[in-house]
């Protein structure tokens, strides 16, 4: 609890005064987070709204009572002492709209910008040599299925999550408040339902891909030379290069954090104190924003950015040339690889050219 207060206070210093706007206090609490679902039962919202019509004095009086922790009766007693409004919720809400919304938007924008810059500088990374027509298995069927399972669930949760986080800012101007209400309830229920499916996907991902993503000595070289971008020389790697490994562990770490905090939010009756839900929410959204920012880059590199990358995750197979150019050490260790590149020319002469 104290931690959240500190976070909120620190953030308030940074945030513009307008961040905690009057609107935040007046509007009926959105049912899109712990403040909405768990904090304020409808019976308590309604009298407040009624009072709102009486004028500012009454409001300030109510809020004075709120700040003093005035006691009332609460139909639901699942989360501690009944209070009219859980005052720390305001701090949480402020944290949400500044730290998470503002900096979250920066983070996502930055990631998109980086992708665009990378594209402008490097363009689509194409194969330098001819394809051999010999295919090497890069991803097994289970790996492909798990990857796309997690991808689909992640995309759905990402979109619904962003609607919940930014809906009021982005969607209200487009579809109005009524429209937002539709989007919000749809996103909330879809998000809550798909959450546990994501957790399962993260576990499966860790089991299937974990081994190949353990750091190796060559990874440091890859990192230090900036993937060879600085030296202009290709840096060999095993099945995954250091960049891919970092992305993998980002997925796992944020995935575990998102899943654990998300499950607590999904099954909020497990929480013993409201602050737990507020902290969980903070972790949940921060983790998700980091993961989405990473996913933007990952999706680019896995599709348009690198020739042959998408195919490796669809058919599971890559051309030997692709393997050598992107993952040299892995290619050489593969039992399906031909002994040396020199013999390839003769070999391929009689072969049919691969499709595409």
């Amino acid at each position: 609890m104290r931690m959240l207060t500190i976070i909120a206070l620190v953030m308030m210093v940074f945030a513009a005064p307008s961040a905690v706007s009057a609107q935040d206090f007046k509007a009926p609490v959105a049912r899109s987070g712990p403040s909405g679902t768990a904090v304020t039962p409808p019976e308590l919202v309604h009298p407040e709204q009624r009072l709102l019509h009486r004028g500012r004095d009454d409001i300030s009086q109510i809020w004075r009572g709120v700040r003093m922790g005035e006691r009332g009766t609460l139909s639901s007693k699942s989360l501690g002492t009944p209070v009219l409004v859980q005052s720390e919720g305001q701090l949480w809400r402020a944290a949400r709209s500044t730290l998470l919304q503002t900096y979250g938007a920066y983070l996502l924008g930055l990631s998109a910008l980086a992708v665009i810059l990378f594209w402008l500088l490097r363009g689509r990374i194409r194969l330098k040599r001819e394809r051999t027509g010999r295919l090497i298995e890069r991803f097994t069927l289970s790996e492909r299925v798990v990857h796309w399972y997690l991808a689909v669930v992640f995309l759905f949760l990402g979109v619904t999550g962003l609607i919940l986080l930014f809906g009021r800012i982005i969607l209200v101007p487009l579809v109005g408040k009524q429209g937002l209400a539709v989007f919000a309830t749809a996103a909330l229920h879809g998000h809550n339902l798909f959450g546990p499916l994501f957790a399962l996907g993260v576990i499966a991902m860790l089991v299937l891909f974990g081994g190949d993503n353990l750091p190796k000595r060559v990874d440091f070289k890859w990192l230090v030379t900036g993937a060879g971008v600085l030296t202009g020389r290709h840096v060999p790697s095993w099945k995954f290069n250091a960049g891919e490994k970092i992305w993998f562990w980002v997925v796992i770490i944020t995935g575990v954090a998102i899943s654990a905090s998300g499950l607590l939010l999904d099954f909020s009756f497990l929480a013993t104190d409201l602050s737990q839900l507020q902290i969980a929410h903070f972790i949940h959204v921060s983790g998700a924003l980091i993961a989405i920012a990473g996913a933007i880059a990952h999706i680019y590199l896995g599709t348009a950015g690198v020739e042959g990358a998408l195919d490796s995750m669809v058919s599971g197979k890559v051309d030997e040339t692709w393997a050598r150019e992107h993952h040299e050490l892995w290619a050489e260790a593969s039992p399906e690889t031909e002994a040396s590149p020199e013999t390839e020319a003769e070999e391929t002469a009689g072969r049919t050219a691969p499709a595409e």
């Binding site: 879809g190 339902l193 669809v314 599971g316």
Partner: protein, 214 residues
């Protein structure tokens, strides 16, 4: 709009579903031409019944293959989850009571719904994804198989988005897709819902007639 979706459109979709399903089923059954005349070693009927109702798990020899486990588990998860949700979700029970049968039954609790829906979603997603990434299913899948999976997915998804039961729009969206699904159903591979007992029955009869303990 919602009045149209829940009124005339619903009855139109239901009619198309019933009429063309009967047409397709009738067509298949009336083709006839079963010409087994050699003396049977054992009962064909018993074999058919066995194959339809009893032998519903993959045979042991095939369980050495991971894909068989995968399809069996994901397949059953999806189908059982779907049927549980279809028949026992509270809004569905209400709907059946009010619009179809005039009586209802005890729906499952909310958490039960969530769990079964998740199981169904996981199953359908996994099966559908495999269609794209397994060379075998990629080769044999028809556009119809993707449409059938996709429509079913959308129907389930819109249903879950409408879970809050706060928005008429979302309810209408779900209903609209249900109607589309019903119209598509009799023309698509979704129709295996009704033909699987036939094909399993015919093969079961062959096993039975020949005394194969399949």
């Amino acid at each position: 709009m919602i009045a149209f979706i829940e009124g005339p459109a619903w009855y139109a979709a239901l009619t198309i579903f019933v009429v063309f399903s009967l047409w397709r089923l009738g067509w298949v059954l009336l083709m006839g031409g079963d010409k087994h005349k050699s003396p049977a070693r054992a009962s064909a009927a018993a074999g058919a019944i066995r194959n339809i109702f009893v032998d519903l798990a993959p045979r042991g020899a095939f369980l050495k293959r991971g894909k068989v486990w995968f399809v069996a588990l994901a397949g059953y998860a999806f189908h059982l989850g779907l049927f549980a949700v279809l028949l026992f979700a509270a809004p569905h029970v209400d709907f059946i009571e009010q619009k179809l049968l005039g009586f209802g039954w005890t729906p499952m609790p909310y958490w039960g719904f969530i769990v079964t829906a998740e199981i169904a979603f996981a199953g359908l997603l996994l099966l559908w994804i495999r269609r794209f990434v397994d060379p075998v299913t990629r080769l044999i899948s028809r556009l119809d198989d993707h449409l059938a999976a996709g429509l079913t997915f959308i129907v389930m998804l819109t249903g879950c988005l409408a879970l809050g039961q706060q928005s008429v729009f979302l309810r209408g969206l779900h209903m609209g897709f249900v109607e589309l699904w019903l119209v598509y159903f009799p023309f698509s591979s979704l129709f295996h819902t009704f033909t699987w007992p036939l094909s399993r029955g015919y093969s079961g009869a062959l096993f039975g007639r020949r005394g194969i303990r399949a």
